[in-house]
Point group: C2
Chain length 420, copies 2
């Protein structure tokens, strides 16, 4: 073991060995373009002030970006109040590129077509199923979605520049290999070759929770935060984390499994084989296994867990206290799980989303109050909680982020070198 007090065996050195400067400084054009996109519209002078660059640079950069077809001037009379020469607003050219974002799930697939500005031009859904399918079958479904979108958006498939896909599973984002997915037969599926055979554009695959987190970072409440957490409650309980404006993926790409954090030593049995997981109190099967107590057993037999849950929720709303108690207990455990997130991360905001946000008992005032109590300490300000109503299209929209982001980087870089 290392001797800490005298680390310097001659030439050992100190400090991090890995360059944190992997974050290559974004070029002026990149920064400029990103600033315009983030603000929707911005004049040269505004951007120059914001980025602290000279007016001359702003002109040069803008001229390049306009020449490359990435930005354009807006000539609407933007009623100015001040004196002086009015500024000319710039905006991203919507038709510079189109991208598709897809969320795949066991209930339905959803997809959106977005222009280069980030506007959603069209959205489509396709029924899905619980059954595992072959990679080719899943790719067929993705193809269908893409073609539907092209038709609905009135563009040709060839005009789509990139596709992003979010799916429930474990994905190595770097390589694009789907290591495991509940929708797929087989492990370690690499869609890239088969996709490349069909389409001439890059494909970005990631865990669906990560895609939702990106949606919040790009389009939602996370836009003005450098750090925040997203908690999703669907079949499982997942988490996405943004640290310093960047999605944190963990070291194994497994995703951050809030659902399998333990909220009770030796607690209820979970699907994963462990005891006391949050999911063992909050998952479908956790809630439905108590349904028999609350509802008339006769009705239960040939129903899916989802239907049962809906039924249970309706009953609770209708005044069945036993049914309400089931949700309330789940809410209490959720409060514990969330409080642990707050204690460990201390984020300024947690956004909760996912299909189960329908069950508002889980987020009753007393649940949130209990969570606040559990995290209260002398100095900690309470962490804000936002409940985001569930909408598959938001996930799909998030899936466009890696696609649109990669395309912009590529285009702006190309514009840099071409002007050289």
């Amino acid at each position: 073991m290392m001797n800490y007090m005298y680390p310097s065996a001659i030439g050992a050195g100190c400090g991090p060995l890995l360059q944190s400067g992997t974050t290559k400084a974004a070029s002026l054009r990149q920064q400029f373009f990103q600033h315009v996109r983030a603000n929707g519209r911005a004049a040269r002078a505004d951007v120059a002030r914001a980025l602290k660059i000279s007016a001359g640079s702003a002109t040069a950069v803008t001229s390049d970006l306009i020449a490359a077809g990435l930005l354009r001037e807006v000539h609407e009379p933007t009623r100015e109040t001040g004196r002086g020469r009015p500024s000319v607003a710039l905006e991203v050219v919507p038709s510079a590129a189109y991208v598709v974002g897809i969320k795949l799930s066991s209930r339905r697939h959803s997809a959106v077509l977005s222009d280069f500005v980030g506007n959603v031009l069209a959205g489509v859904t396709l029924p899905s199923s619980n059954q595992r399918r072959t990679p080719t079958q899943l790719l067929d479904q993705m193809t269908t979605l893409i073609e539907m979108l092209a038709q609905k958006g009135e563009i040709s498939v060839g005009n789509i520049g990139a596709v992003g896909v979010g799916l429930p599973g474990i994905v190595d984002m770097e390589s694009g290999v789907v290591r495991w997915c509940s929708l797929l037969q087989g492990d370690d599926v690499d869609f890239a070759p088969a996709f490349a055979a069909r389409f001439d554009m890059p494909l970005f695959i990631d865990n669906d929770t990560n895609m939702l987190t990106l949606a919040e970072l790009w389009f939602g409440e996370g836009r003005d935060k450098t750090d925040f957490a997203v908690v999703t409650i669907e079949n499982g309980v997942g988490m996405g984390l943004v640290v310093n404006n960047t999605l944190y993926r963990g070291s194994h790409g497994v995703g951050l499994e809030l659902g399998h954090t333990k909220v009770q030593m030796d607690g209820a049995l979970c699907r994963c084989g462990q005891r006391g997981c949050l999911e063992a109190y909050l998952g479908d099967y956790a809630l439905t296994r108590e349904v028999g107590v609350a509802l008339d057993l006769g009705e239960m037999h040939n129903r899916t867990p989802e239907d049962l849950l809906d039924l249970l929720f309706d009953e609770a709303k209708a005044g069945n206290t036993a049914a309400a108690t089931i949700f309330r207990r789940a809410g209490r455990y959720l409060a514990v799980g969330l409080s642990n997130v707050v204690q460990l991360f201390d984020p300024p905001l947690i956004i909760i989303s996912g299909e189960r946000t329908r069950y508002d008992y889980l987020f009753a005032d007393e649940v949130l109050a209990e969570m606040k109590t559990m995290t209260l300490s002398d100095m900690r300000k309470p962490c804000a909680i936002a409940i985001r109503p569930w909408d598959d299209m938001v996930w799909a929209h998030g899936a466009t982020v890696p696609a649109i982001s990669a395309l912009s980087d590529q285009f702006v870089t190309a514009c840099e070198t071409s002007n050289a």
Copy 2:
């Protein structure tokens, strides 16, 4: 509420609003210097290859840094094997600056003097106490430590360039204000003015766990990791987190409170007033409140909790199964807490340190095995756990990091502008 599907009310834009490019690109000189320091020794050609800069730049940069007195050539015959002109190794000039790192605690204060290379030249300790003291009294103790170090290290106090201090409490690292500290009377103490009146050098204060985390990042096992967690077990159970080579401080500077994550719904009562906190099973008072069962009550009365714990540990080692059980149970809860960290962060490594690492029962093989089981999933590789024997000097050494880091930045920047 925002409409997610169509976020683009004209000009709304998309993408993060806060520039992630806060990470200003480190200048070539900064990168070069950091690389030499990280590697202890490196030749111009090595650095040029590593940083992918031209040989010409390496010469220019080196010449500046040597002229500024920050680097120097090493002329020892480093037995080369290859052909060609032998490279000339470069190293940081140790005497370019001296810094002091201090760890303040209720049992003893520790401090080290370090040269610019990061070598520890001297270490001293001072007895402390549980009693709260005035800021002035604490500053007096810091002054004593600094003077002791100067004497022992045979340099004048005036040659010390910066001081870093880690203390148990809540610190706003930016402003340097100690918002709360168990050693201090009063809240929101700002040492800066009083310190400036005594010393002509900057003072960096932070939470002690953060300082230990920096020690691991700069001198320890974290050096070759971009992400890892540090867990400290002392009076409380704390955590430090490094994400992307940077210490993550959370949004409120409260520190990441692993000790107050809940491992049991409605569990044991904790000092914080909540139930089921990890600390309620692992803290001094948690262990000692069961001591009466394991040991002869007569011996217990006039002993400090620390002594009691040591006694309990000795008994356990001597074969007292009741005593051993107390530790074992605490170990099981620790396993739960650690497994939650793994599930939420998925770090490649967790380093455990702090005074309580003496009690090896807490880290028995079966405890670590249980933790591994709790985090096992289809795809997750097990997270490495390193037990770092406790050494206050390591914490103090970590406290030099902000000091040495700030000084290098300042010196290298100065060298840049002066050569302009």
